[in-house]
């Protein structure tokens, strides 16, 4: 990955912070929902998860991720994959957000 592409990945990750999980009330990047962001010739590939399979919010979250990544200059197309492997765990939340949510110290 080139420096430009690294920079674009950082910009996309920053842009995804506008998407908030309605239940937990924090952005999905800090919650650890974004498993991977990569760039391939202007096309962004994002792999993400949600707390629960079948949750009615999951499709909206996926759409929100696509919408916000599209707005980043230099991104020509966005492809979002929703996966539940591995399953999301509260241990994936960034430490500062975890304590503010009142989560137990977890593995």
């Amino acid at each position: 990955m080139t420096i430009d592409e690294d920079d674009l990945v950082a910009q996309i990750t920053q842009a995804l912070k506008v998407v908030v999980d309605p239940e937990l009330g924090h952005n999905i990047v800090d919650l650890g929902f974004i498993y991977d962001v990569s760039i391939d010739d202007g096309a962004a590939h994002i792999t993400m998860t949600a707390t629960t399979r079948g949750c009615p919010a999951a499709s909206f979250l996926k759409e929100g991720v696509a919408n916000s990544a599209c707005l980043v200059p230099g991104v020509e197309s966005v492809d979002v994959t929703m996966t539940f492997e591995p399953a999301w765990q509260p241990s994936m939340i960034s430490p500062g957000v975890r304590s503010s949510l009142g989560f137990a110290e977890v593995n």
Partner: protein, 448 residues
């Protein structure tokens, strides 16, 4: 399919259900039905059916249309059947109640009211069972919580069939006259299948998933809920088969009911232990009001089971069937439903309003749609009123019971206002309330 969509009419189901609940509470407050009149009399049947069909069944159907797809990660089989089902259930119950009122001599109604009302109700429940059943069928093998729902759906069929047969007996038809003993042995089957199988068993299954979701407790263990499921199925099978055998005069009814009761207690004990286990394993330490109040409702169910066991041990159970039924219907089922509506209504409202603009503009949280401190007082009043009313029934204080139910009714009105405020986004302040591109939701119908 990963996500499931919103059920268009879920909020209509909730609204109709709450109106029925308020009507039942109002009737009790003015002294209609038990304990002022006979527990098996037509006036009490009016209240029992308003609570069980109008309130709990209607709200449960609305919630199941939304959450069975979540339980099995599949879309609802036929969204278009949900509104006709609501219409049939509401109209059927209205006609059935008119039939009971005529039976009680309140007006001079035709004898076909009861069977006609029952037929409409059976048609309504058939649409519900077909819709949810096909959704579950598409998701075999079923995960644990969904099995409870499947068991509940089987039980609502049994309840409806017996209800239909009773309507033929009570209205004095020629067919009904062939079953002179049906009411005596059939009523326990009708009640066990309805209250125990359909309402309680289904609520238990859904609560496994919802409690785990809201407390972020691990529920991936396939064994979770299995003892409660097995003991519950045993209780229902013994109760139903024993009841049918008693109906054919092959055995007495009491041994079957005792065995079924013992299995039901085992099932409830296993369920209580599972809920406690989920609570202890929760990753989310600070629990939201809906979860805390659900746990209080579970405590009411445990209290009802202990009270039933104590009454059985002292042979005074038959005297206090009404007390146990009230505690189960209000402390457990109504409490659990109101606690979960306090989450479901804002959650669905959030998805409908802010889901489509997610990623484009900043959005509020679901919790920004509610004011927990304000709602807490209504829940406290609700549970205090329900328990006080149970106590009043236990000591035969009919007037005290009515006063306590008036408190419950006040709490219901307070919580209804909270639900309406959530739909109106009344507690979301500033520019986050309706950002560009977001549309305010309608009170009763969701865009999907």
């Amino acid at each position: 399919m990963i996500g499931t969509s919103l059920c268009r009419w879920a909020n209509s189901y909730f609204a109709v259900a709450i109106l029925w609940l308020l009507l039942a509470e109002g009737l009790i407050v003015v002294g209609f039905g038990f304990p002022n009149s006979d527990i098996g009399g037509p006036d009490t049947l009016v209240i029992v059916h308003i609570v069980c069909i109008g309130w709990v069944s209607t709200v449960l159907c609305g919630a199941l249309f939304q959450f069975v797809p979540v339980l099995v990660a599949r879309p609802l089989y036929a969204e278009r059947l949900t509104l006709p089902a609501l219409a049939l259930l509401t109209l059927g119950l209205t006609v059935l109640l008119a039939g009971f009122l005529a039976l009680g001599g309140h007006f001079n109604g035709p004898p076909w009211l009861l069977p006609f009302g029952a037929s409409l109700l059976i048609a309504g429940f058939a649409l519900v069972v077909a819709n949810l059943g096909m959704t579950l069928w598409s998701a075999r093998p079923l995960p644990g919580p969904a099995r409870f729902v499947a068991g509940g759906l089987a039980c609502v069929c049994v309840t409806a069939v017996f209800g239909g047969m009773f309507s033929l007996v009570l209205s004095g038809t020629a067919i009904g006259a062939q079953w002179p003993d049906l009411l005596e042995s059939g009523v326990p089957i009708h009640a066990i299948a309805g209250l125990g199988g359909w309402l309680t068993f289904t609520a238990m299954g859904v609560s496994y998933r919802l409690l785990a979701m809201f407390m972020l407790a691990p529920d991936g263990d396939a064994r979770l809920g299995r003892p409660a499921w097995l003991a519950g199925v045993a209780a229902l099978t013994i109760g139903l088969v024993g009841g049918v055998l008693a109906l054919w005069r092959m055995t007495g009814l009491n041994p079957a009911l005792l065995l079924a009761g013992a299995s039901a207690l085992l099932s409830l004990a296993a369920y209580g232990r599972d809920v406690l286990g989920l609570y202890e394993a929760r990753k989310r330490r600070t629990l939201e009001l809906n979860t805390r109040m659900s746990l209080v409702a579970v405590a009411s169910l445990v209290a009802a089971a202990l009270l039933a066991a104590a009454l059985l041990a002292t042979s005074s159970f038959p005297l206090h069937v009404g007390t146990i039924a009230f505690l189960v219907a209000f402390g457990w089922l109504t409490g659990l439903v109101l606690a979960n509506l306090y989450k479901i209504v804002p959650f669905l409202t959030w998805l409908e309003t802010y889901g489509p603009v997610m990623g484009r503009v900043p959005t509020p949280r679901v919790q920004d749609l509610v004011a927990e401190r304000r709602a807490l007082k209504w829940f406290v009043l609700f549970f205090a009123g329900s328990w006080a009313a149970t106590l009043m029934l236990l000591i035969d204080a009919a007037f005290g019971f009515r006063v306590a139910v008036a408190v419950v009714m006040l709490a219901t009105l307070g919580l209804s206002e909270e639900f309406i405020r959530a739909r109106r986004l009344a507690d979301v302040t500033g520019p986050l309330r309706l950002p560009a591109g977001a549309a305010a939701p309608h009170l009763l119908v969701s865009r999907n």
